[in-house]
């Protein structure tokens, strides 16, 4: 299954602070929904264990996270496996200064392989969208709680 999502988070924080945040694997890693463990390997890489459940399929996934600067923003690449399935998410993040702070525009291509794609079937797209949206929503709320 391949899906594309996009969205915008209006963050009440300055652009430079947002930029540094999304290039920090420790910060971004902690925004992963249902995170259980996070290990930062180096300034651009981390490994995370997350809980994932789609319909009847539930289990733990091991994710490799890679953050790279791209223009004045970043790419976030997540790849992982678990429960005999594989997933990947490649997202481009673009930042825009606003009077209230920063608009974080994101676009994500997610791909799921294996039994999760088959068994999760019709539920999967909605679940994938929810998870990706939650990641960026978590980035916003974490930044704002720091900013406040």
């Amino acid at each position: 299954m391949k899906v594309q999502f996009s969205g915008t988070e209006a963050i009440r924080a300055p652009k430079e602070q947002v930029r540094q945040f999304i290039l920090d694997p420790n910060q971004v890693g902690q925004c992963l929904p249902d995170l259980q463990e996070l290990t930062v390997a180096d300034p651009t890489h981390a490994t995370a264990i997350v809980k994932i459940g789609v319909g009847p399929v539930r289990g733990r996934f091991k994710l490799d996270i890679e953050l790279q600067p791209s223009g004045d923003a970043a790419t976030i690449h997540v790849r992982g496996s678990g429960m005999g399935s594989g997933l990947s998410m490649m997202s481009e993040v673009r930042l825009e200064e606003t009077p209230e702070g920063t608009n974080l525009h994101w676009q994500a291509d997610a791909s799921v392989s294996g039994p999760l794609a088959s068994v999760g079937g019709r539920l999967l797209e909605g679940q994938a969208r929810k998870t990706v949206e939650q990641l960026f929503a978590n980035i916003r709320s974490r930044l704002e709680s720091v900013a406040v």
Binding site: M1, S81, G84, G86, S113, G114, A117, S118, G121
Partner: protein, 785 residues
Amino acid sequence: MSATLTESPHRVLGQPIKRKEDPRFLTGQGRYLDDIKLPNMAYMAIVRSPYAHARIVSINKEPALAVPGVLAVITGEDLEKLGLAWMPTLNGDQQMVLAVGKVLFQYQEVAAVIATSREAAYDGAAAVEVEYDPLPVVVDPFKALEPDAPILREDRKEKSNHIWRWESGDKAATDKAFAEAEVVIKEKIRFPRVHPSPLEPCGCIADYNKTQNHLTLYVTSQAPHAYRTVLAMVTKLPEHQIRVISPDVGGGFGNKVPVYPGYVVAIVGSMLTGRPVKWVETRTENLASTHFARDYHMTVEIAATREGQVKALRVHTVADHGAFDAQAVPSKWPAGLFNICTGSYTFEAAHVVVDAVYTNKAPGGVAHRCSFRVTEASYLIERAMDILAHELKMDPAELRRKNLIPADKFPWKSPTGWVYDSGNYHHTLDYALNLIGYKELRKEQAEKRARGELMGIGISFFTEVVGAGPSKHFDILGIKMFDSAEIRVHPTGKAIVRLGTRHQGQGHETTYAQIVAEELGLSPDDVLVEEGDTDTAPYGLGTYASRSTPTSGAAAAMCARRIREKARKIAAYLLECGEHDLEWADGRFQVKGAPHQSVTMQQIAFAAYTNPPPGMEPGLEATYYYDPPNLTFPYGCYIAVVDIDKGTGEVKVRRFLAVDDCGTIINPMIVQGQVHGGLTEGFAIAFMQDIVFDENGNNLVTNFTEYMLPTAVETPRWETAHTVTPSPHHPLGAKGVGESPNVGSPAAFVNAVVDALSHLGVRHIDMPITREKVWRILRSAGIDE
């Protein structure tokens, strides 16, 4: 060889005798693979690929080895050291046993875990860490042929996804006929990828004894002897040290013909651990990794006259074989017998081309009519004939009548080289049309159409080609496709017959008993049929392609006749007369003109062991290997009547009549059961089934909520009837029937639905014809409730 049977009071053939095997099946006493438990037995689970195409970066066994109960973890690298990472397919290709370097389809076997319990094996499999690097995926066979497509099979010399091209017929004559044709029709027709889904999935127990260097493999196999030979070739164990036992098999439909990677790994597992290793796949593993059927993308053209006389047929097919070309076909026929696609009609010329292609899908092709592709061929021609009728505004029954091969033209040679042994097609067509009341149905349809109601009638007049096969043309891996029988008559006149075939529910234990009983003057109750043990049964190629009765059934009859020849000598001795004074009548030998002077087979058998004629070798047994002189050509006329709900698009099959001509019928009740089962499969294929992949090569139908099997609720009521045109070359005149309904019915269903919608401009709908498809057609035609 005479095809006629003497009428006598001792008449076992043709009787609807209740199946001898049913009491044990119906009372839960069948002994299937998973019922077998050996002392000290270990269990195996397979780690499968989530990706359809990916490099394997690394495999970490350690977490699995740490799981309590895990005895061993086997990977492709381990097998490579043993020379077992790849194995030959039955079609000249090779396939990975466990993935080496990369995976080529989702659910491909990557590693195996052996453990002391089934649970520990699955826990261990979940703990194996495999790192993949995904590669571009090719699921569309047409895209696979494009120049920039990624090359899937890097192990081959040819750097292309094209596997082979096969041509049949006369291109020049066909092109000429098309150039001169008054009418030409052309259509693209897909036969979906389907899976036979036997109730019992595949499995085995490998029991290797190191001190004796002996392997016993209990396995769900339709062809145990072929397995033994393949295993001898793959494992290098001496063939006499391998015993293959196929216990009761819970449905096969071709799915249990191939040797699967799991069997080879289980054997290695048993060698490594010194224990018997059981592997039974799950439903999802069965659906997603074992052999599918069909997946033929066909383009058909017919050249005809304006009056509806067919002249020539042109077919081009792209065949999606998945990641490995793992069909089971005779070496001469890479696309099976697909060139039977001129069907039941008097085409003068034909040209058939098949291009086989690799994609990132599970390998296969051996299911439902084996790899012989007769179903695809029959569906294609029967669909195309309806399209031609539509084009010519002719009644489809009339078009068929005009073009059917006349009875006096048999044996008839088709433009692609087949010699049809026998048939009386016009008689069968008329019989079927009368039986269903065709004229009245057409009248009813016209009235309903005038009222805006949707009703359709679909005809399929198929010709099957079964009983592979004559040794001059047919082999599997070079082994000729004869089959065999061995009969031993015991001193008290009871007999055991052993055969090289293996039934999976077809009723062999009854059918063969009837044949032997008929030939030897015994009661079927006194004949035990045994199959499935390579140490006891004579060599044979197994049960698939409707070949059991045409080959082993013939072998059983000929073997019994061989016994009868010896029995005649003993009878002459007992009756103190010359052999030529005797005649075989009423199931006994009697003196010509003095029928009260007779001996039964029981008396003869007793004498064979207690009082044989001086100089004669004692005992009463024989073996016969039957090499059929030709294939057999069962045929039939199927008619479906459907009503379509304009609001929901639901198709209701109101009536379905199957008139089969399978030659001499040995047990009409068993034949009816086979026809009912095959029609139900055909119904599922026409309306429900397709193995669907997404663009990543994810199989989206890996369980029975997504891949539908009809239950009693959906299944229509079947009407069956027969005409009998005995095969002139089979010892009993029998032709085989197991697959006829699966071959013949899909076209009847689809023709009926298209017929119901033809006035809306609909010419063809690809299977499966779901409610949604019909609903969309109705809405786009502006039809509302």
